[in-house]
Amino acid sequence: MATSVRDEFGSQLAKLANEDSRVVALDGDLGNSTRLATVEKETDDSFLQMGIAEQNMLGVAAGLSTVGFQPWVCSFATFLTKRAYDQIVVSVAQTHADVKMVGAYSGLLTSNTGKTHHSLDDLGMLSMVPNMTVIVTGDANETATAMKAMHEYEGPVYLRLTRDETIENFTDEAEFEIGKGRVLQEGNDMLIISTGSMTSRVIEAIDGIENLSIYHVHMPTIKPLDKELLLQAASHVDVVVTVEEHYIRGGLGSIVSEVLAEHDPKKVYRVGVEDEYSGCGTNEELLDAHGLSPEKVREKILAYGKRE
């Protein structure tokens, strides 16, 4: 059964805040959408409304961290990262502040909102920042375990969450290790590396493919990337495919390409959003338009497999 990533996020953060008084939630006036509202509802005093002012919100978080708090800042991914990028770089990351930044409503799947609300560059932007850890969870279970790991880790982390509520849990581990990928399937023709909301779609896309032996890795930590697993898995195959709900430049596809170019050059196909603006639409329309529906991903995988 599908479970909601955002519901899990809200409940888990409320739980962390009730267990640890240092944990405080900062909202950019979207708490009822992102489910940060759960913290307001289920804790006595661990919720701070910061209004529609992302730059200040990140600065306040940095200041709170210097006096002993662990602020969790949440807004839509595109506003959190792009409107406050310099604040993230200077006030949060350079100081190695123990600030957790949660980009909700990421990628294309933002509930019929269109270009202004899509975040397709956040993984690239945040991965570029020194001291930063970047996590993209694939399902609700992984969101909860990743948040526990983030809570224990001291330092700035960006967590990208999906608004998509159709994803079935495919992870069941109790522990999340920052910087480690998950092998979902082994094979020796093609390596597929996917992240976030696309992993469950890749699982669906490759289901039943028999004439292509596929190695599938889910990569929930974009930075630091699990290079060891990537290189080990890539050593079995001739062709690598990355799949992400992000521009093909700057994100998972770029980072995987960089690592392979340096250590084990081979053909890499990047599946993601091309260099273009998106429109508004249902999740299915958007995924189809940008070649990210399970059907379109399957077509691409089969085509890339044939070329070799």
Partner: protein, 282 residues
């Protein structure tokens, strides 16, 4: 707390010493934002020698007052005050703005314990100060949070986001000082000179829910009085000190000239500036 309350005369002497060391440091490697450091020299001297509950021997003391230099480009002035206050040897000022120095051109808290925040990108420090003040309230601690912003800096929208939040959270433990020196790096053309960055600061602060104090930012007696009053007011309203200052204050040929925003004196200018400052003491 290492208490160093000074008499007015001692404070005046200290302010001159701060200015001389600012010029010495800027002249040493020919680096530094001199104009703005001189404009806030009296403010910093007053704060660090009469107001802040701090302990240079224990910079991480949990209950210390916090200070955030939001106008981070005038780190030169802050480092001089730190040195004279005893955070590090004055000799270290010679490393200012050098690659491996703790005294980076713009404040870096990861290198220097005395700093409560890294700054240098304008508008950001005041938000961090607001965060510290919210934290103090939540932790039920009595420390105050002081931040110094520039009048040019107040063109950043983030400053006003921060002020808005400060009054939303009733931060009477936050004291924002505006170094209102009337010039910015370049600014708007105004006849033969440059325009004033901010003319309505007091009214704006007030409209954002602040208690506002206007003061001559070079009158040490008034500065002490105003800071004492602001610190003791427990009325759930944040405090703004509009300190009217002169960019380049204390050196005749630097005063009110935007060209001295980030220019270091040559040998001749340095000697002349020192002579002026020493003459002023007598």
């Amino acid at each position: 707390m290492n208490q160093t309350i000074l008499s007015l005369k001692e404070l005046q002497k200290m302010a001159v010493e701060v200015r001389k060391k600012i010029l010495f440091t800027a002249h040493y490697h020919k680096q530094g934002h001199v104009g703005g450091s001189l404009s806030c020299a009296d403010i910093l001297t007053t704060l660090f020698f009469t107001q802040l509950a701090i302990d240079p021997d224990n910079p991480d003391w949990e209950d210390r007052d916090r200070f955030v230099l939001s106008k981070g480009h005038t780190a030169l002035g802050l480092y001089v005050v730190y040195a004279l206050r005893g955070y590090f040897p004055e000799e270290e000022l010679k490393t200012f703005d050098q690659y491996n120095s703790r005294l980076q051109a713009h404040p870096d808290m990861t290198r220097l314990d005395a700093l409560d925040m890294s700054t240098g990108s304008l508008g950001q420090g005041i938000s961090a100060a607001v965060g510290m003040a919210i934290g103090a309230k939540w932790l039920e601690r009595n420390f105050h949070v002081y931040t110094l912003i520039g009048d040019g800096e107040s063109q950043e929208g983030q400053v006003w986001e921060a002020l808005n939040t400060a009054s939303k959270y009733d931060l009477d433990n936050l004291i924002v000082t505006l170094d209102n020196n009337g010039l910015q790096q370049f600014g708007w053309k105004h006849g033969a000179s440059r325009g004033v960055p901010e003319t309505e600061a007091g009214a704006k602060f007030k409209s954002f829910g602040f208690d506002v104090f206007e003061v001559d930012g070079h009158d040490l007696t008034s500065l002490v009085d105003v800071y004492e009053e602001a610190r003791l007011m427990k009325n759930n309203r944040p405090k703004a000190i509009v300190a009217n200052t002169v960019k380049g204050r204390g050196v005749s040929f630097m005063e009110n000239d935007h060209n001295w925003h980030s220019k270091a004196p040559n040998d001749e200018e340095y000697e002349r500036a020192l002579r002026e400052l020493e003459k002023g003491v007598e």
